[in-house]
Amino acid sequence: MQLRTNESRLVAMAVNGAISQPSLRYPGYTLDSQGVGSVLPGMSGVVYNARVGDPAFGWAADHVEPGVSIANSDPAPDMALHYLTCMGNRAIVISGMAKGAEGIVTGEHARILVDFAPDTNDLLCVGDTIQIIAYGRGLLLEDFPQIEIKKMSPRLLHNMGITVSADGKHIRVPVTMELPPRIMGSGAELNSEFVDQDLMSGDRDLMAQLGIDQMKLGDIVVIPDADHHYGRGYRKGAAAISLCIHGDSVMTGHGPGILTLMTATDSVIEWVIDPNANIANYLNIRENV
């Protein structure tokens, strides 16, 4: 059964940002779960060697943002960049040596994360302007209006292998893994229209036991018993289909960043485990992830 959407009525609109400079505060230390400080890269800038499809764990980094991180220095346009940009949207370099190159939105953290081909990354400079064709806000499934869709482009929705059950009452979404609600941490204090919520990776034995340490950047995952409609909270029977957008953290209460894509409070969303459920595959970003 085909997924029927309202995408013919969605508005496509330009928003833009500039490639951000990594920044640290004196004295630069991040404390780990044992209280030991270290200086680690991760956020902002052009990250050349951590890309969607690569492991989310194991980098000598904190909250690594794969690819290119962009922000708008004017607060109101920056919020528009955050609220209107959807995963899988097209991004176009409009200034600098890589002018005209095209990339794909792969995440939203404190900045918007965009994947470009490695050859393009080599030509990008901090400050270059990137324009996004924001398209997806308001998206819904005509036959499942009780499912809230957030920050998902129609392109991603149609490419992530969603199927409808024979009785037409459920959708089934491929995911790489389930995340237990008790490990969902930093970001609970924010509304769910803004950025992500970190899974808490501090219990390393549990991460290994559940295979969560095998997560890749760009993985589609599910959090059972999580309602992400108007915040991110525990609610028995709800579910949130989400995307891994940034890498692990050494900080207590932090870990890979999990961004909401769809949520429902009844059992309409089902899932099936599929190790290939990664946006690098779905959006043709890389082969064989």
Partner: protein
């Protein structure tokens, strides 16, 4: 055996705040927050002098969002407010230093976190009547640096010597620290505040799933109750860790928002499970500090 501590070596230092005004976002003057079902609400929230909610009252049922019982203070200078929020400890004494309530004595009962960063104080209802927003309140801050000699794995935070004494904590036969609590909060019900600092601020019980809260009897919690946090390590930030355990005070009331509910001010934590919470009815700082409401 009562727990030996190093209180003779602790510094007692002044930190000052002013009674904080309630605040709302500016233009376009959209004052609403959304509850967990997306409905807009407009209710009193952090700050101000709260005349009719005190430590000892229920944490639930108020038409408010994370209400602070009693009086909330902060300092406009950001660094100074950090000092206030970090050094003030639950049980420290406070005195009004300006205005008509000058000389009135109060007690620190809690702290609030990201987006407000207040220290919450109990004063008698009669003293609250004489206070005004902006009045200066000085706290004799004492407690940061406190350790328990026989419990090196237990970290004390926002915890005054008076709270340790008043709770009558003991060292058990197995060497762990026995702490009386009214309830134990499971980790799947801990929400906003995870990943944020545990040296001040708050970690919230999340109450969207009312059936789950009622099932565990957590709807009976009172402001000021001492509670345990199961499988949560608050040694540096707040975060999930099997076997770790925290102790906190219910410092703020319930919330309609997703991820929120009564706010807990963390006072003790052990990464290695060296705290044994002993569930005991009615463990509340109102009785511990003999507060008049």
């Amino acid at each position: 055996m009562s727990a030996r501590n190093n209180t003779d070596k602790l510094i007692c230092v002044s930190v000052m705040g002013q009674i904080a005004s309630p605040g709302f976002p500016g233009l376009p003057a959209e004052p609403y927050r959304l509850d967990s079902d997306g409905r807009a609400f407009l209710l009193p929230t952090y700050g101000g002098i709260v005349y009719n909610v005190s430590v000892g009252d229920s944490a639930y049922g108020w038409l408010a969002d994370c209400i602070h019982p009693g009086v909330s203070i902060s300092l406009k200078d950001e660094n100074g407010n950090r000092g206030l929020n970090l050094l003030a400890c639950v049980g420290n004494t406070a005195m009004v230093m300006s205005g008509d309530a000058k000389g009135a004595k109060g007690v620190v009962t809690g702290k609030s976190g990201r987006f407000s960063e207040h220290v919450i104080l109990h004063f008698s209802p009669a003293d609250r009547e004489k206070m005004a927003i902006g009045d200066k309140i000085n706290i004799k801050a004492c407690g940061v640096g406190m350790t328990l000699a026989d419990h090196p794995d237990v970290k004390l935070k926002s915890c005054s010597p008076e709270l340790v004494d008043g709770l009558e904590v003991t060292t058990g036969n197995n060497g762990s620290l026995n702490v009386p609590v009214t309830a134990v909060i499971p980790p799947h019900l801990l929400g906003a505040g995870a990943g944020l600092t545990s040296e001040g601020g708050s970690l919230h019980i999340q109450t969207q799933d009312r059936a789950e809260i009622a099932r565990l009897g957590l709807d009976q919690l009172r402001l000021g109750d001492i509670v345990a946090l199961e499988d949560f390590d608050s040694s540096w930030n707040h975060g999930y860790l099997r076997g770790a355990i925290g102790i906190g005070v219910i410092g703020q009331g319930d919330s309609p928002r997703s991820g929120y509910g009564p706010g807990v001010t963390l006072v003790m934590t052990s990464m290695k499970g060296g705290i044994n919470p002993v569930v005991t009815a009615g463990v509340n700082i109102k009785e511990v500090f003999n507060l008049q409401a």
